[in-house]
């Protein structure tokens, strides 16, 4: 077989991760009922050919539950990360372009949020919003924008000093033209990569606060719920209840990370030299 070059390898990784995540999402949203169906004639079966991930103490198929749980997590991750990234973009640009007062206020808020542990803020916001899906999404969205906002602010500040930006101004180009034509192409790779790299954070935080009991309610088979329920049965030797969902959570997070890194390499070829 011909050896693949770097770009082809990156494309392969990107395609594989995207395909995996899409399959999980679609499969998970189709299998809502199957993930809840109990059948006592097949309870506590260890992994076998018919049930590759085994079944739990209520006879629920762990494979279906894992996929369903991951798909809920991915949807929460995407929503939360998108909201977070948009907040970061707007505040980052505002901070860099709207003068000293705005800049110091936004920078102060960034430092403030980055100074408090995320999990603490997440639990507070999630409980205040009445737990559930909404609480988790708002919680993750509100806590995750500062690092990306700081990055974008720094980038815009640096761009403003570039000669070609100043020259475009002297050539009579409007602020809007300069922002769209000159600044956006520089910000977009940072923004997209930042957005994708926010997903794994969002997913992990969602499952951890659900695991701790402050997130989603128990009838939704989110991955955090599946894991925290499994904890009770782990000591009785049913290792498969926690192993597979946990393993697949890690795999999903890693794939999102691979996707982010691949996108960075594709959109910003210069990063090879860093």
């Amino acid at each position: 077989m011909r050896k693949l070059n770097r770009r082809q390898r990156v494309l392969l990784g990107l395609g594989f991760s995207a395909a995996f995540l899409i399959v999980v999402c679609i499969w998970g949203s189709l299998g809502t009922e199957a993930a809840r169906a109990t059948d006592f004639s097949r309870k506590n079966i260890p992994p076998c050919l018919q049930y590759p991930f085994g079944t739990d103490w209520l006879g629920r198929d762990m494979l279906v539950r894992t996929v369903k749980g991951l798909s809920i997590s991915i949807l929460i991750g995407i929503t939360a990360a998108a909201v977070s990234a948009v907040i970061a973009l707007l505040l980052g640009i505002a901070s860099a372009t709207m003068g000293k007062a705005v800049d110091s206020v936004i920078s102060f808020v960034i430092d403030l949020i980055m100074g408090v542990p995320h999990i603490l803020l997440l639990i507070l916001i999630s409980v205040a919003m009445g737990k559930g899906l909404k609480g988790v999404i708002v919680g993750v969205a509100v806590t995750h924008w500062p690092s990306l906002a700081r990055l974008i602010r720094a980038e815009v500040l640096q761009l403003k000093e570039m000669p070609y930006i100043k020259i475009a101004g002297k050539l009579g180009k409007s602020r809007w033209y300069i922002a769209v034509k000159h600044m956006l192409p520089h910000l977009l790779p940072q923004f997209i990569v930042g957005l994708v790299l926010l997903f794994p954070h969002a997913i992990l935080h969602e499952s951890s606060i659900t695991f701790l009991g402050f997130g989603l309610s128990t009838e939704q088979p989110a991955i955090g719920i599946v894991l925290s329920e499994a904890m009770k049965y782990l000591v009785t030797g049913k290792w498969w209840l926690a192993l597979f969902p946990g393993l697949f959570l890690v795999v999903t997070v890693v794939l999102f990370y691979v996707m982010g890194q691949s996108l960075r390499k594709l959109l910003d070829p210069g990063s090879v030299h860093q």
């Binding site: 570039m162 070609y164 020259i167 475009a168 002297k170 050539l171 009579g172 520089h186």
Partner: protein
Amino acid sequence: MKLEIKNVSYRYTSKGRQILKDFSLSMENTERVGLTAPSGYGKTTLCQLLSGYLKPNQGEILLDGRPLDSYQGYCPVQMVWQQPEFAVNPRLPLGEAIKEGDEIEERVIRGLGIEPDWFGRFPTELSGGELQRFSLARALGKRTRFLIADEISTMLDLITQSQIWHFLVEEVEKRQIGLIAVSHNPELIDRVCTRKIDLRLLDEKNR
């Protein structure tokens, strides 16, 4: 049309070195003025003041009797920067850079020796000298009345230098564009310019 700089003083930071002190200069758009001085005498600072990139601490800069910063939109005083690599956006093909200028004529592009297939290329795919031609062409728009050339030919070989200066002198003469040329090379200034200013001598006079 007259470009005047009246009693201008400038320093970069409030406690920094006084780079220009009570500096005055006046030129017509039919003149070609050569600026010489060793490094650190404020040649580039003066260029950036004259083209409106910097605001003077004291004094004023007038174009046709009107303050330069009162001109909205396209600035009639255009400057060509010393480093062409930073003067074009690395993420846009060079055709975009030319389009930013004010209706650049085909004649200017050909006169500067820009090849048609350079337009689709990105700045990293051309040399410094080739990029500098794009910066020059972009600054030679329809509404340009004064052109400030800050060491534009330092990175070019001698033959290219002579081609570009030859074209530039012809062009500014035909269109009555005032030219300020900065260079370390006294022979070049003698050939190109109608008037010569040495910032060193002015500096001594001030002391």
